[in-house]
């Protein structure tokens, strides 16, 4: 099972600043293990963030993103007390959703 994310959302200047830290191996598929066999690729393919049912960020990712990725962005609208949901899906079909309250 996927591990929890760390999400911080802060309202400022009429918008919201969101910082997300995701726990993921982000294996590129280019590396080999000690036996010389390639380690299968395992990475987050899609990230989406919703606020009040609206998608405020949608991103397609590839293997170039680092292990345990950090994502920061701003969006307009949103105020203190609102909730945002973050969902990622990886290339093995594993997915994780976490929720945070804007403060």
């Amino acid at each position: 099972m996927a591990d929890p994310m760390r999400i911080r959302a802060k309202a400022k200047d009429g918008g919201v600043n969101v910082k997300i830290l995701m726990a993921h191996e982000m294996e590129t598929g280019q590396r080999k293990d000690s036996a010389g066999k390639p380690i299968p690729a395992h990475f987050i393919q899609h990230v989406s963030v919703t606020w009040q049912g609206k998608v405020v960020l949608s991103a397609n990712w590839g293997p170039a993103i680092s292990k345990n990725p950090f994502l920061e962005f701003d969006f307009k609208g949103g105020k203190k007390g609102d909730k945002i949901q973050v969902t990622w899906t990886d290339n093995k079909g594993d997915t994780r959703t976490d929720e945070a309250t804007i403060n």
């Binding site: 591990d3 929890p4 994310m5 760390r6 918008g15 910082k19 830290l21 995701m22 726990a23 609206k54 998608v55 405020v56 960020l57 991103a59 170039a64 993103i65 680092s66 292990k67 345990n68 990725p69 950090f70 994502l71 920061e72 962005f73 701003d74 969006f75 307009k76």
Partner: protein, 289 residues
């Protein structure tokens, strides 16, 4: 949807530092001679300052927090043969009290009549409350690419609950004072094929191995430098490690027999280091090179 600024930290592990590796290195720490010291320490401190800057940026997105979150899940989940959570675990301030517990450990526990550090106590709780076997937990206690052991995440979670608090490792009970004295003795004990002690590297100011400055653990400033940042996320390999691992690694580097996992030896050494660091503010789980 408009005005989306995106910042993704890419390929963290690929960040290269211009560290001038010395040819023909020895593992013995180098005492920099007075004349060359000025020039050497200038470039060295420049590298260290650059690294500090990088670490500051990383602090706000420290992957250590992921392990805190995982540790929290593990702490509250009903697990083990006894299907119990760790919420009744007493870390010295009463069952389930986590706030400030980490900065007051190692401490004496009456129920076991022992001085225990955080990881040792948490393992004790996993054994008594959840029914795990200590021998199983001690089999592979350190993080690897394939696995982060549960105690590592748990210690990180507990340590995070002491963020911004003053270190106050107690010395009231006679056994706590014993632990300090034994720790000091182990720290200064020279042995092994290289006739090393912990003090060889960590017992005087301004020692280093290659570009790595070594904290003097017998001083207040050195002890806090070592206490700070652990448990730590090591950018080399992207693994979370606790002080159990760090001290174990010191033993290995000295070519000593490695101490038992969550053994008394390590509690004693951690008491020595913790008491020396008393009074400083603990910044929480951190980031290491």
């Amino acid at each position: 949807m408009s005005s989306i600024k995106l910042r993704v930290v890419v390929a963290l592990s690929g960040l290269a530092f211009a560290c001038a590796a010395q040819a023909g290195q020895t593992a013995t720490p180098v005492k920099v001679a007075a004349q060359t010291k000025k020039a050497a320490s200038k470039s060295r401190s420049a590298i260290a300052a650059e690294f500090e800057k990088f670490r500051d940026i990383m602090e706000e997105a420290s992957p250590a927090e992921l392990f805190e979150a995982k540790g929290e899940e593990l702490w509250k989940a009903k697990r083990g043969p006894k299907n119990a959570s760790l919420e009744k675990c007493d870390l010295g301030l009463g069952p389930g009290v986590l706030k400030g517990a980490y900065v007051k450990m190692p401490r004496y526990f009456a129920d076991t009549d022992q001085v225990m550090d955080a990881e040792r106590r948490i393992v004790y709780c996993m054994v008594t409350l959840q029914g795990f076997k200590e021998a199983d937990l001690a089999k592979k206690p350190f993080s690897s690419a394939s696995k982060t052991p549960d105690p590592v995440s748990l210690v990180t979670y507990v340590a995070g609950q002491s963020r911004g608090m003053k270190i106050a490792v107690p010395q009231k009970h006679p056994k706590e004072r014993d632990a300090y004295n034994t720790g000091e003795e182990i720290f200064n004990y020279r042995a092994g094929p290289w006739d090393f002690s912990c003090a060889t590297c960590h017992g005087a100011d301004n020692l280093r191995i290659r570009t790595q400055d070594l904290p003097n653990l017998s001083s207040k400033e050195g002890a806090i430098a070592a206490f700070q940042g652990w448990p730590g996320y090591r950018m080399t390999g992207g693994l979370m490690h606790t002080l159990q691992w760090r001290l174990n690694d010191c033993f290995r580097q000295q070519r000593f027999p490695e101490p038992g996992y969550v053994s008394e030896t390590l509690s004693d050494l951690l008491t020595y280091m913790g008491v020396n660091a008393n009074g400083h503010v603990y910044k929480g789980p951190g980031i290491k090179r």
